[in-house]
Symmetry: D2
Subunit: 138 residues, 4 copies
């Protein structure tokens, strides 16, 4: 199973008065990493939204926050596609600092027709690209 | 079991180019609702952080996003304390619009000593206040 | 000249590791106050964007940050409309805590046709409402 | 005069229901660019805040938003230090897309002693580094 990696710096603006990363900021960063995953796959959100009138809203998110990260920390996001459904995609993401787990997430995305607001099957080319990512040995 | 209610307006700044609330903005709003819960309980975060040098970081969060909300929607957050551990608290929150479920969350908070970064038992007065909230008939 | 007042609480999530409000959070709060001003005026953004296909993007913003605010502070936003142009509106906002100036802003909004992306004259009813607000003795 | 350059992608999460970058998101991005400037200079905020107990809060910000940017746009931030005072620093930033001006900012930072909350002179090594940046031919 392939893994998509993305690095992110914990910035001043991500941190709270307790001096650690504010977890809602993590969720915003995660969305950006998932955005980069789609771009890497060859199906950027700009194309999905602009040309296909299709979105991938999040139906479920669960996170475990294992230890805090701090201003200046370099985090590595490692994303795997755990399950490809006909209309959904389950991503699992580990976030580490120097090999140590900081937090992890499971996120379920749903393919949605933006004109009707209803879920839809993945377009063939996107399904093939996702399956290819899943089948690729790391 | 008591329920803490808080209303929130979905603002322009909460919404994304798909025209619906951006889910990381929901998480930020949730933190504010939980902050108001602590204030209602008589133990505001300003006092916990400032006087007690204690925080309540989130160890776990899971969310189900059932249907989108839009700019201008009035959402009602209904928060229950599902379980009080010696060092943790599990909150469950339903977010509705005119009685219809928009999303729901389960959040586990941990009492933490900010000087050591280690979990700690709830101070007696906070434990009593939390237990009182749980035991109150709605 | 009338003044529109709005109260805002500085929340945990607005503050930075220096323990004071993060100024980009102020700007997001300001947008919400301006959104409430339009709603008070009877021309909410949801109606402007949804029915009129019109927006009011910001062309200019200048801010002076006089003293810091902290987690738990109650701020009062006092908004005046300083100048109504044929296609623009200049707002001035003072933000105070217990009568003491924390920061102030001048913001120039432009009426924009969202279909063309070009500026447009204020619709008559909006212009009348803005002029009425300006002419009202406080 | 030297120029510090930083590239930023306009992400889905930066954009509003009007489909363009939400300007408070720009301000948050700007803070990150200024953070990178200090790191490039050899005086990262983590060191300023952690070791020196010194901060650089913003006393003034003014922005002109010339044309909108959209989801997927690549923006180039070009930062110059316009004026170095004994306790302050004036930065000017142009933000362009393919050479076209999108927005510009002038930001005045003040050196602050975090223990007293009062302004302070720049430490010698920081002043020398800033002066060196200003004096460098591009």
């Amino acid at each position: 199973m392939a893994v998509f990696h993305a690095k992110r710096l914990i910035r001043f603006g991500h941190c709270d008065p307790a001096g650690i990363a504010y977890f809602p900021a993590y969720i915003d960063i995660l969305v950006g990493v998932v955005e980069d995953f789609w771009t890497m796959l060859g199906h950027p959100w700009t194309d999905q939204l602009g040309r296909r009138h299709m979105g991938t809203p999040t139906a479920h998110l669960s996170c475990d926050f294992v230890r805090p990260s701090r201003h200046g920390d370099q985090l590595l996001f490692s994303l795997k596609a755990e399950r490809l459904g006909s209309k959904s995609l389950t991503l699992v993401v580990d976030v580490t600092r120097a090999g140590e787990l900081i937090w992890s997430a499971k996120q379920v995305l749903v393919a949605m027709d933006m004109k009707t607001g209803l879920s839809q099957p993945w377009p063939d080319d996107i399904r093939v690209a996702l399956q290819g990512f899943i089948d690729t040995a790391e």
